[in-house]
Symmetry: C2
Subunit: 400 residues, 2 copies
Amino acid sequence: LTIGDELLKGSVLNTNAQYLGSKLTHLGFSVTGQAACPDDVPAIRKKLTEFLSRSHLVIVSGGLGPTPDDVTREAISSLFKVPLVFSESQFRCIQAHYRKHSHHAVPREVRKEAFYPQNAVPLINRFGIALGFFMNYGNGGLMIVLPGVPRELENMFEALVGPLLKRHFKNLKPKPKLVVRMAGISEPAVMKKLGKDFFEDPFDFGIYPEAGEVSIRLYAESSQIIKKLKRKLKKQLNAFIYAYGESSLTETIGKILTRRKKTLAIAESCTGGLLSSEITRIPGASRYFKGSMTAYDNSVKSSMGIEKALIEKKGAASKEVARALAVNIRRQMNTTYGIGITGIAGPSGGSRKKPVGLVYISIAAPHHASVHKHLFWGDRLQVQTKAVIKALEYLWQEIR
Amino acid sequence: LTIGDELLKGSVLNTNAQYLGSKLTHLGFSVTGQAACPDDVPAIRKKLTEFLSRSHLVIVSGGLGPTPDDVTREAISSLFKVPLVFSESQFRCIQAHYRKHSHHAVPREVRKEAFYPQNAVPLINRFGIALGFFMNYGNGGLMIVLPGVPRELENMFEALVGPLLKRHFKNLKPKPKLVVRMAGISEPAVMKKLGKDFFEDPFDFGIYPEAGEVSIRLYAESSQIIKKLKRKLKKQLNAFIYAYGESSLTETIGKILTRRKKTLAIAESCTGGLLSSEITRIPGASRYFKGSMTAYDNSVKSSMGIEKALIEKKGAASKEVARALAVNIRRQMNTTYGIGITGIAGPSGGSRKKPVGLVYISIAAPHHASVHKHLFWGDRLQVQTKAVIKALEYLWQEIR
């Protein structure tokens, strides 16, 4: 149960619901419902009553802040007819937080955040201000209440809630799980390759196409079934599988380059630094990534040693310029591999011969350079994102 | 009501709930509830019954796909005790879609996606496969059912649902709204500057701190109140307000640079292309953005004319190197402004003197260059993101 007017109005994205769903599923829970509820005592009480009556575990987040609209703790204390009591320990954390991050004393209204219902057990929040808490209900039920700030909720889940759930629900058995990640194949093509035979055993199957990649998530009752499914997947889809588990394509590439002691440089035009930022999000990227150039303006392309005449003759969005970007950046930065991307991200700048979405991607390796032509569908950011994913896919194919 | 096991398991992020919440609020609806529900006929019927009994409008999304777990249309037809009927128009769209995007005929199981409950009116989906539909219920109530693929849902909302809502709910009056976006100030500081007087009129107030920025969203009954609030906000917070409305800081910068015919180049180290990609996400960035360099490896910094001796003496993460990055890239790419960023994004690479999170940001303008030192808190991506937002803020302060 995620609480907050901002969730209903769509002012913020509900990442907590996804985070909690994923963590709980992984721990072996079957998540049967999620709701967002306004900052309103009767509405919260009604939803809580519904959720408590039909679940072994209810996790509540949000509405624990200092402003008058934050009423989650009041709603819970009124539902259970118990007063709110003050946590000295949390207040000391709040004081420490204010000493560290601000030069002011703790404001009066913030004291509120150290209160919890008398029938609950406090969960000290060392990552922020608002106290969390949990309580038992009914016959073995557990309700856990956490602050809505995603970073605090996540940190508290890792440090406190995970261990608490394992203690409380003794028979909790994480379901055997298999995550398979693929690039360069579409969802219907995956389904076709798998065929009907794949589904003979009982298991829980999810396939998620996302921006040029496809992942499959399976949960089964036994690890024997998981092993069997993994063998089948490998047999049918090995050419497209880049990872078993949660590793992203960029992380997979990082691992391969690190292991082989190879290096990478990038020259991008229409993707404007997006590929470079994808690569450098990964901790340890400095082991294999030397640098990149965003040659947005043609004068910058020329300064990279791409002849003006070539750009004029073939156009900035051409296979020749893509290849020159990849080959030149590889040479300039003295790396094993170079990637060049050029194209028309739109919304303007397209023509009949070179429409918006046209992108050339080149991979330069020690002894050869390849160029791939694509026509991507979508708005500017979609074209940029798809080009970046395709470039990662080609690099992976080159180095795998 | 968003339907799908993948939402409860946290395999995908529920962006539809945010999109719909934001659109409906904007149209003048008060969104009182949101829930995610598994792909299960009894569960969907139960939730639908609850939602239909307490709302004038229910929007349902998801569970209209071709696989056996997609049961939304079956759940609705069983709830209203009506059969499913076939839409020839949608099937023609499906055939056209397959002709365009695939070389196969329409698979048997996909036919299912052209069906709708007999008491509903079809909403033809020209952006994908699955038919949407709507129906009246109770005393003036409206239920709308849309596919779960975000792009299709959004396109159908724009093209069909928005107009339908305006036709059906004649008295719908978008509430006067004010969005104010600020940089360089924290949420508590905003609240303190506003003081209690600000809240004397009745209105609906939301404040959203997000990664170094703060936005305020207000809804009031009259545009007089909104005007008064805007005056007060401007008086108290003018130094921090970069936009009234939904414009992002990057867009605001783009507008100013375009209007003044100024140009920009970037040299980044620890942010690895993230600032450059932020800038080039904006359509029309080519009018003011010439290019960037990600100087990740020190050899690349040297190739930018930053002396090896300087890097060795002061360290790559130093105010001198930040300034040299900004000044040199400005000169090399021949632009009005240059930005240089260098620091330690972590998780490794920090020391006692130069800890993880230390970032120097420099802005080079025609006659001067400034350098700002920061110690950002958080993981690698948080440090990178915060550094990028601070750099945008300093650039905006320079050019505003």
